[in-house]
């Protein structure tokens, strides 16, 4: 049996640094929501887990070969983020240890978000975003739930078109990701975009489907020139979904890209003609994630 807890990045020297935790998933609920639990094949594969953890860290901090999106490598952010990895193959395959479920309607790995806080508390870990790494033999596609903020607590207020929201300092349920040990390219970064966003204070949704309104997505035709005003800064719309184009039956439209020749990170990065790693976040997503991270990094 092995128990390995590794500090991959120390982060800020304070009691509650912004923390990303990468966990080897002890057990799978298969199928998801069935109550049936099986051991996750990642148990017994410490080297594969550590390789996955290194990949996730690299994707987050802009270290993949050819990666252009380096938002988290900003000197105001990178030194203050704590990254932990956790591997414990001494746990029984019980529901309380099943961090991931296998979706019966897809090949998605789905984080069982409600068990993460109690699971991590056994290791005295409080995290803001958690990746649960699986080596499922049938399900390999990653997914993420946004953070549930602690809206009874403090935060930094900000204004968007639909009113005042807050970059909350703390959460009641961290952003959670179910990801396969073989994940590559921008997948870990894309899922972080969802996971670090908030169900009550601005969510970041997929831009490769005709999504509902969110911080990074709006509905309507014709597409207006202005996308949104965020903290008094106007952001333009991406009128052409540069790099891909909007299907004719869509109502969604997005914010202006930083690099209009490539899809956004939250869009279909596989369609980038210069490789997924060349993709960048759109402008409002980048600003929102940066501000949210800074609020959490500087929380009292």
């Amino acid at each position: 049996m092995a128990f390995v807890e590794k500090v991959m990045r120390v982060g800020a020297t304070k009691p509650n640094p912004f923390t990303i935790c990468i966990v080897a998933n002890p057990a799978l609920e298969a199928p998801w929501k069935s109550g049936i639990v099986i051991p996750d094949p990642i148990m017994g594969q410490l080297a594969a887990f550590q390789a996955a953890a290194t990949y996730i860290d690299s994707a987050l901090f802009g270290l993949l070969p050819g990666q252009k999106e380096v938002l988290l490598a900003d000197p105001a952010i990178l030194p203050f983020i704590r990254v932990l990895s956790l591997y414990d193959d001494g746990l029984s395959p019980a529901l309380a240890n099943a961090l991931v479920g296998q979706d019966s309607s897809s090949f998605l790995l789905v984080a069982r978000r409600n068990v993460f806080v109690a699971f991590l508390s056994r290791y005295e870990i409080q995290a803001d975003v958690v990746y649960a790494v699986s080596a499922s033999v049938s399900h390999t596609r990653a997914s993420a739930w946004c953070t549930t903020d602690d809206d009874a607590g403090d935060g930094i207020p900000f204004m968007v078109d639909f009113g005042q929201l807050f970059h909350r300092f703390n959460c009641t349920i961290p952003g959670t990701v179910g990801i396969h040990a073989t994940a590559c390219s921008l997948t870990a970064l894309h899922e972080f975009g969802h996971a670090v966003s908030s169900y009550s204070n601005g969510s970041i949704v997929d831009l490769y489907v005709d999504s509902n309104p969110a911080l990074n997505n709006k509905l309507g035709r014709p597409i207006p020139a202005g996308f949104a005003t965020y903290n008094a800064t106007p952001f333009a719309s991406d009128g052409a979904r540069d790099g891909i184009g909007y299907p004719s039956d869509w109502r969604s439209y997005h914010c202006e890209l930083v690099d209009s020749s490539r899809p956004a990170v939250m869009d279909d990065y596989y369609q980038s003609t210069t490789g997924p790693e060349a993709c960048l976040h759109d402008q409002i997503t980048k600003r929102f994630i940066r501000d949210r991270l800074l609020a959490k990094i500087n929380r009292p």
Binding site: C146, V209, D210
Partner: protein
Amino acid sequence: MQPLKPEQRRAILENSPQAQPADIDEYERLLSLRFAEDPDQEPAAAPDHTAQERALVGSQEEREARLKQLHAKLFGASENKKAKTAAAHG
């Protein structure tokens, strides 16, 4: 949610002749929508969704039922093929 790779999209259409590109689009949209809403809250808690927009996408139960239908349509043939291959290799 991780996007489908182009080769995965092609494989679905090749392996499931009854599947149409529009089926994949609907399937992907409904899957993605699952994660866009807080699963532990009523939809009204979200600040950026209107009642009209929620009505357009149906209830969570309706969407999950439709997802099961689409999954069977898109992957039924390939799953049967995999099962047959596995059985053949016993």
